[in-house]
């Protein structure tokens, strides 16, 4: 065995031993937490029933878009800024068209099936985000996997030829962000609080649980995150150095 491999093994075993020793030392000091925090208990008790209800049985979504909605609003703004700056950095680069053949037919058929299933799963995750675990961010991240699969399995050209180019993705993303801004600002315009949820937006529509503005926010965020990450993947899949590849 070569000396560099032995050195790596020695380093790894030192790290492993120190982790075990640290765990042994810490185990006499740590006490596992049994009780719920007062704030967490407040959110669990109020999210569906209760005086400060947000009309959603999914407590994490209720915190994300209602109780701590301002956090999420400005986080969406950060995402908006990051994608806009990425697009502006890459603006000067030529959008190269190239014609690789992609993978074999087996891979292409697999991409078609998996892409459809992923799209349906992403939409379910996002649209049921106020009832089951999930939401706009998770659904949008899953949605962005579909264009990535198409880029890898077929080519970037295929995606753009079928009508999903950077400009369309920018439009979809802007629609999502505008919806979020409108839904958030509407209560402030009619004299209530910014991002207020329940008395203004209906808890149920035709007997279906809508959780006020939570489902609207989830759908808009689904579009914004999915299209935003698609723009990133489209830009990153430009061939190296702007050459024909």
């Amino acid at each position: 065995m070569r000396w560099s491999k032995v050195k790596k093994l020695i380093t790894l075993s030192i790290i492993l031993l120190s982790v075990l020793a640290g765990a042994y030392y810490l185990s006499s000091y740590l006490t596992p937490k049994i009780e719920l925090n007062a704030l967490g208990e407040f959110y669990i008790r109020n999210s569906y029933f209760g005086e400060y209800s947000s009309g959603s049985p999914e407590v994490v979504t209720a915190i994300l878009w209602d109780y701590r909605g301002l956090d999420t609003y400005f986080e969406t703004a950060v995402l908006f800024m990051a994608i806009i700056s990425a697009v502006s950095i890459f603006r000067s680069m030529p959008n190269v068209s190239f014609h690789p053949r992609g993978f074999t037919n087996i891979t292409k058929t697999g991409v078609k099936i998996v892409g459809l299933v992923t799209f349906v799963a992403a939409a379910t995750t996002a649209f049921h985000g106020h009832i089951t675990p999930g939401g706009g961010f998770q659904g949008g991240s899953m949605l962005a996997v579909v264009p990535l699969l198409v880029i890898v399995g077929f080519s970037k050209k295929t995606l753009e030829k079928n009508g999903f180019n950077k400009e369309r993705a920018l439009v979809i993303r802007t629609i999502g962000l505008l919806t979020i801004a409108l839904v958030a600002f509407y209560p402030a315009f009619i004299g209530k609080y910014f991002m207020q949820n329940l008395p203004i937006y209906p808890k149920e529509i035709y007997g279906m649980l809508a959780s006020g503005s939570l489902s609207l926010f989830n759908m808009a965020e689904f579009l914004a995150v999915g299209a935003g990450f698609t723009i990133i993947f489209l830009l990153l899949s430009n061939p190296e150095g702007g050459r024909e590849a």
Partner: protein
Amino acid sequence: MTFALALIVSSIAAIIIISLYGIAVRPNLVKKIICLGIFSDIINVAVILLGYRAVKNPLPPVLTDYSQKGIEELVTGAVDPLPQALTITAIVIGLAITVLMAYGAIHIQRKYGTVDVRKLARWEE
């Protein structure tokens, strides 16, 4: 039970140290970005661990039985929902920042032909 918790805590500390070592010492920009990703992910794991409760079979904080009894079940057995909500925010912002740094690295590679910090700073001339 306590030893398992202590093992998780000490592994988190070890991974934090290793990723900080990678950010500070490795000269390759791409490896720095990877280490920063590991660092932010392990911080998220630590935040999730803050909300953990050592009850038997902890539940996710989602109401399945729409009644007062279901809420009592959650209060006795569910994990804290607040760290999870904060972690989602951190994940998305971390992804946006990683993308921006990757773009910076790509541009540096295209302009200077290297992502080695020592060569970029011209230390080896």
